[in-house]
């Protein structure tokens, strides 16, 4: 499986994503600069976490306007898998590749903690190695992860099985609508999620619950 990690100015989980990808797929991902307008031939594009453009104005807004995002959009339309983690998820909503927006956490504070999640949907390339209903723990680390969309959109997302991860009941860290932690696009090849699966791929870091996500992709795309 060939992959690429997009680096925006002030991305800061680009290395974390690359380390996890290399450990699991055995291949070093391409690191792609935001100012480039072309992407290499890959099976997976990762938009990593961080504070692209300082999170100024709105998280992900300026990164959404970068050259490379036009190319990412085209690739996504052509079916390439795209994974947006944390700031990457924010970029995906800002470019309307995923519906809704991520607003300031309801508690108004940045929150970093191990977070229990429920895998709602295992019918996707990203979650095929999990079971529906499975409880996993990924860290969250964000100030703006409060997912918002109108009821109609939320109903549709749930009805179409596109809500992939939810925060465990009663443990919503940010006020997110319907406890949503991660969603798919209509074609099911683009996933955005706030928690960090790449930070739980090494037992020394407090768990390996994130590995199955990358292993699932590897099995699909190898």
């Amino acid at each position: 499986m060939k992959s690429a990690v997009v680096v925006f100015p002030a991305s800061n989980c680009d290395r974390d994503a690359a380390v996890a990808l290399e450990a699991i797929t055995g291949t070093k991902p391409h690191m792609v600069w935001h100012g480039d307008s072309e992407l290499p031939e890959v099976d997976l594009i990762v938009l990593p976490g961080g504070f692209s453009y300082g999170d100024y104005l709105r998280c992900g807004a300026m990164a959404g306007q970068s050259h490379i995002m036009r190319a990412v959009k085209e690739k996504a339309e052509a079916g390439v898998r795209v994974l947006g983690i944390c700031n990457g998820f924010q970029v995906l909503t800002e470019t309307h590749m995923l519906p809704g927006v991520l607003m300031r956490n309801a508690g108004l504070k940045f929150v970093c903690r191990p977070q229990a999640l429920e895998v709602v949907e295992s019918q996707s390339d990203f979650t095929r190695n999990y079971e529906a209903g499975q409880r996993v723990v990924f860290p969250v680390a964000h100030g703006e992860g409060n997912y918002f969309a109108d009821d109609e959109t939320l109903d549709r997302l749930e009805g179409e099985g596109r809500v992939v991860f939810k925060y465990a009941k009663g443990e919503n860290p940010n006020g997110s609508a319907r406890d949503i932690a991660g969603i798919l696009n209509e074609k099911r090849n683009v996933l955005g999620l706030m928690p960090h699966p790449e930070r739980v791929c090494d037992p020394l870091l407090g768990g390996t619950d994130g590995k199955a996500l990358f292993e699932g992709l590897l099995e699909t795309l190898a």
């Binding site: 002030a10 999170d55 680390a141 790449e198």
Partner: protein, 572 residues
């Protein structure tokens, strides 16, 4: 020409004897720019004039120390090709005035100190002291400071892995915000600040210069300020986004061999960086302020030399390498300007609009700076009764203790910091020391900050010793070998013999404990004059300790592991 009146001199913080020395060193009256330069370089903050004599009593070397105090940060050998670079610094006053920005720029400043030496920052810690919880201001200060530290550190993508937080009424009007940064570099890729060589280009990179944080004299400021309707703010706004770009650009350039010397522009920005670099290189320096990237119009030479705008660096490059360096900074969308040249004159010469506005011997700002042996009295340990009553049931005392703000859980604080970014935080907040894996190896750094101000108040010497011992224990407790310390010596007014006595006893006590434990101090800073309305803070010599775990699989944690395990208490 601005007339240099006695009043102006006083407003620049120079006393009569000091000003007489300025006249002698220059052989003439200073220009206003020169007066400003002397004022900052001879300030307590830059010159350590009250503490320099005593700081010499600290042990600073060991076989594993690569660089002790005197550079931007200390450097120790952590095995193989790896070097660990670290320092702690205070940002007390700005954080009291504007807690969010004050604390944020404190984090930014200490990170620059570390990456200017070629290290990638891998961990941050913070030692915080606030007033009483029910003081009207405390809540606002705590939430602002914590949010500020988080906002800067999180954006930089450096995990904030530990710290300590105390509350005491002596900090009601003078909180302490001490930030520590730890970085890693390869041993043969460490960068220093000595501006060696003649005719080498002096280069400015980072953000533009504005009228940020120009302390100086009120009168001089008024005179040089265009818009006098707004009082010039003395607190800077941090721009972590630009700093993150600056970090990446500097590390990219450091991968080449184009840099001769580099230093961050901290307090008194251009002045201290250029003077210190020239001093260390034993050279002279000439800079042309017209070349300095400017954020505002009509900046005067005085303002530019004293500006504390953040996110800037000064470098000396090898001649001919300017283009290569410029390309890197342009790629990261940062300013890059050649503003001067190194010389063999031993003088610092500053030009503005075709005129020489300052011309002075570099050594006048360093070696010739005043040193004081201030009078001090060593007081005997404070008398007092412990607050708890031994006759009461132990459980009552325990419950009372657990409810105190100093001992309660600090989760509310560290959950606002990203402590997992970079994927190497193998021991997260909540334990005795944080442990950060050295990326790509089985080694780990054990990191802790310690001091108990109550003890230092009771007995400055024993309290300081205890702080060193506690750092040593916290590192040992996770399985690390303690290697070295950085310090942040927060004290009150050195001009009061009682307070000066606390400083002397504190430094001597630290030194004694460090020698006994072979635990040298490799970097640090002093923050004096921490008092409000004549009342000083508790003596607070904060320490940041670094230790090494050769094999993180052997790391110990505080959690009980299994039912039935024996619990052993050892020590006295």
């Amino acid at each position: 020409m601005t007339a240099i009146t006695p009043e102006l001199v006083r407003e620049h913080g120079l006393n009569e004897a000091e000003y007489a020395k300025v006249l002698e060193l220059l052989g003439r009256e200073p220009s206003i720019v020169e007066l400003g330069i002397f004022s900052v370089m001879w300030s307590e903050h830059c010159s350590y004039k009250s503490t320099r004599l005593h700081l010499k009593k600290l042990p600073t070397s060991a076989p594993w120390v690569i660089q002790g105090p005197g550079e931007n940060a200390g450097v120790i050998d952590v095995g193989d090709d790896d070097a660990c670079i670290f320092k702690m610094e205070s940002h007390n006053h700005p954080s009291f005035i504007e807690p969010f920005q004050g604390a944020a720029t404190g984090v930014g400043g200490i990170m620059r100190d570390v990456f200017t030496m070629g290290a990638r920052p891998v961990a941050s810690l913070n030692a915080l002291r606030f007033g009483e919880p029910d003081n009207a201001k405390t809540k606002h200060l705590v939430s602002g400071v914590v949010a500020g530290i988080g906002s800067y550190g999180n954006c930089m993508g450096v995990p904030t892995v530990g710290g300590e937080t105390n509350f005491h009424k002596s900090y009601n009007g003078n909180i302490l915000v001490n930030a520590m940064c730890v970085g890693l570099a390869k041993k043969d890729k460490i960068f220093y600040s000595a501006a060696k060589g003649i005719g080498n280009p002096v280069v400015y990179v980072g953000s533009k210069t504005g009228r940020d944080g120009i302390h100086g004299a009120t009168m001089a400021s008024a005179e040089f300020n265009e818009d006098s309707e707004e009082k010039r703010p003395t607190v800077q706004v941090g721009d972590p986004f630009t700093e993150k770009l600056l970090l990446e650009a500097c590390l990219e350039l450091m991968n080449t061999d184009a840099i001769i010397a580099i230093q961050d522009m901290g307090a008194a920005g251009l002045t201290s960086s250029s003077a210190e670099m020239a001093d260390k290189g034993g050279s002279g320096i000439e800079i042309d302020l017209d070349m300095v990237p400017q954020r505002e119009t009509n900046l005067t030479a005085y303002e530019m030399m004293l500006s504390e705008s953040q996110e800037r660096m000064l470098m000396v490059l090898k001649p001919g390498r300017e283009g290569e360096a410029e390309a890197i900074f342009k790629k990261w969308e940062l300013d890059f300007a050649i503003i001067g040249v190194t010389t063999d004159t031993g003088r610092m010469v500053v030009k503005h609009k075709g005129e020489i506005v300052a011309d002075m011997p570099v050594t006048a700002l360093s070696d010739a700076a005043p040193i004081y042996n201030r009078p001090y009295v060593l007081r005997s340990p404070a008398e007092g009764q412990p607050e708890f009553d031994a006759a009461k049931p132990a459980m009552d005392s325990l419950i009372k203790l657990l409810g105190t703000p100093d001992l309660c859980s600090k989760r509310w604080i560290w959950e606002q910091y990203d402590y997992t970014v970079m994927g190497d935080s193998v021991q997260q907040p909540g334990g005795d020391s944080a442990v950060v894996r050295i990326h790509g190896t089985q080694k780990g750094l054990a990191l802790t900050t310690d001091v108990t101000p109550r003890y230092c108040y009771a007995d400055p010497r024993e309290g300081a010793k205890q702080a060193v011992a506690e750092a040593y224990r916290n590192i040992s407790a996770v399985g690390g070998t303690p290697l070295a310390l950085t310090d942040c010596l927060n004290f009150s007014n050195p001009e009061k013999p009682e307070a000066m006595g606390e400083i002397v006893a504190g430094i001597e006590g630290m030194g004694e404990a460090c020698r006994a434990l072979d635990f040298p101090i490799v970097s640090g800073n002093c923050s004096l004059y921490n008092e409000t309305q004549g009342t000083g803070i508790l003596p607070t010599p904060a320490l940041g300790g670094v230790g090494l775990l050769k094999d993180i699989s052997k790391m110990a944690t505080v959690a009980f592991k299994r039912d039935g395990d024996a619990i052993v208490l050892f020590g006295e």
